[in-house]
Symmetry: C3
Subunit: 270 residues, 3 copies
């Protein structure tokens, strides 16, 4: 039922991540900085948070990936993201964008679109409404309200992925990932993840870490989401409320063994 080659790829990526310990440069929101830094450490990566315009170009030059997250954005921070992102593009360092709240306010939608316009972004991860808000006005992509089935969502994601020329990860009970050609679905995860702030942002940084060790954005994203979701499942075997679940999730990211990854990944190719 689940793809064994992709489960194997997940295991390989996790192994490479723990060996290479890539530096991940984050320009992200205040709410999740501590938790996503800890998640990156638990995965085996090395986090740095830096947003000053005087240093972001220098800092990103040491990084294996750049994570941009607009959760508590101001125009200054978006300018920093553009600056770091342009340098990352020059160095061919992968960028992942988390358009937190895009669609909710004009500043968020405009900022996310600006980042997509000015930078070459390898992966965008968000929930359905965030991701679909990125479509151009005159685009063929249907809005969130017109999606009536899983197939509608997949069609919209495929179209939008081609339009934006990036890999899209729409996360939810089942995650949908597409590079505009193939569609993968990941069914790992646990409902308690919705009761911990920043689990979406944490999925994003883990994809960022996997992009630093896997050049294929589709498989990097899919395997990262399987790994993170599996950590959620593992945490839920010990915790039944969000405080201890938040702690257990970090423990699980650190503790998942390669064999567990191989057996636990729930990735399907559509």
């Amino acid at each position: 039922m689940f793809d064994q080659q992709l489960a194997h790829k997940a295991t390989e990526n996790l192994k490479r991540l723990r060996e290479k310990k890539p530096l991940i440069h984050n320009i992200t929101n205040y709410v999740v900085m501590n938790y996503t830094a800890n998640a990156l450490l638990a995965c085996g990566a090395s986090p740095v948070m830096a947003h000053a315009q005087e240093e972001v170009e220098e800092m990103v030059s040491f990084a294996g990936a750049l994570v941009l997250n607009i959760g508590t954005l101001t125009p200054y921070w978006i300018d920093s993201m553009v600056k770091a992102g342009k340098r990352a593009n020059e160095l061919n360092t992968p960028i992942i964008l988390d358009p937190v709240g895009s669609g909710a306010t004009k500043l968020r939608t405009d900022s996310a679109k600006r980042l997509l316009d000015e930078l070459s972004i390898r992966v965008v991860r968000g929930n359905a409404s965030e991701v679909l808000s990125l479509a151009h006005k005159d685009s063929r992509t249907k809005g969130v309200d017109s999606i009536h089935s899983v197939d509608d969502a997949a069609d919209a994601a495929l179209t939008l992925s081609r339009e934006l020329n990036t890999t899209l990860a729409i996360t939810g009970a089942v995650d949908l990932v597409t590079d505009g050609k193939e569609i993968h679905r990941v069914s790992n995860g646990h409902e308690l993840m919705g009761f911990v702030t920043g689990t979406g942002c944490t999925a994003t940084v883990i994809i960022g870490a996997f992009l630093a060790v896997d050049d294929n954005p589709l498989t990097a994203t899919t395997t990262a989401l399987a790994y993170f979701g599996l950590a959620g499942e593992k945490a839920a075997t010990k915790a039944s409320a969000p405080g201890s679940f938040q702690v257990g999730l970090l423990d699980a990211l650190y503790s998942i063994e390669e064999k567990q990854m191989q057996e636990g990944a729930k990735i399907q190719i559509q």
Copy 2:
């Protein structure tokens, strides 16, 4: 001994909160953002942190309540609070203010007073010295140093509540809440709460969430404090040191059942 109607109201408010899942817009300090977001999620509410002047008016228009907290203030952030607050007032969305450190520095005292002057604030929550620092220079409210008994404190709070035209919550070993007419006292809580940073700020956001489902600021505040204090008591049955207590407090907010709320609320009407 404890008021049974208010215990019932606490149970009702908690139930409504978990059903309605109101969005709570926070303009707050860096220290507690992660923890108060998690506390709101554990309660059943939906948190958003947003402070950019370009978006706060739009963001607050989706919210059931606005939380203003000056813990790591700068003038920019206070301006954002005024902007969001004015829109909240137009929409009759309740605002709660946490005047962290008011009385300690001129910037904090002046900023808290400015927010009270320019906005209609439904509830202010702080410790005794923070709340009493809000009195006008020529006010009849006695300062913290002249309070020699619980009755003195109650008198000062009543006077100040009328003067500022807002409900006041002075939290401590026993919380005192007054709308300028009635006085309620809440004796739920545990001393380990004083060893976790931001438990005051967390009390504030929970009051904010209760304000989104209860139009009466006095009962919303009192019942929220009983719920939060009860969570502290529950957490202390499992944890005896601040790290695990901080985690257990989130677990307890999530796990408290209606029956426990009804039986555990310790609210008295003076």
Copy 3:
């Protein structure tokens, strides 16, 4: 093998800290604010985070120590640090600097050097590359790449300590502390500390708290590091992964008894 007088001093300092509960003013990075505030509370100190230029001079005047940490610096924040630091110097309030990432970007190196130039700093704590990056261009201090043995590191630290006229704490598997005259080594600690973000920053705030109760920067630093490392050892007896270790570390800071401190401190005088 380990110095018993310094173990006794550690016990004494911890006792004084818990009795005096000094206010520690932090101008620090976003990533660790919550955790270091909680660590200070768990130690018995009282944390405040404040960075607005309108209030830092007033705030620091209440403090027993000032902690400066450049982890998510911008020029505005560095200016605030200078402002607070000058006032601290006037009041003879001890300052500790954590030059996070100095050596990695020009902004960080220049900012750390500016703070050392403009302020009288009692202690600097960092890893070897951060601390050695602070040497003047024409200094006799050897760079990190030319250090080939533990003795080389000690020589470089001694020279640099005299050059910068401050006590240096270079933390790692074994911590090296020198005031330019004596060298102390602390071997407390646990490898899981490297998997929790901000444990270096937490060591810094605990040294800050000890500086508030011990006028000797060498013994304040050494005993604080022994205490923090011992907390790590204690946490590791219950936790084997970073999420629960992060929580357990706070529990241990709170719970360590004087007898445990006396018996557990691993400090050596070179």
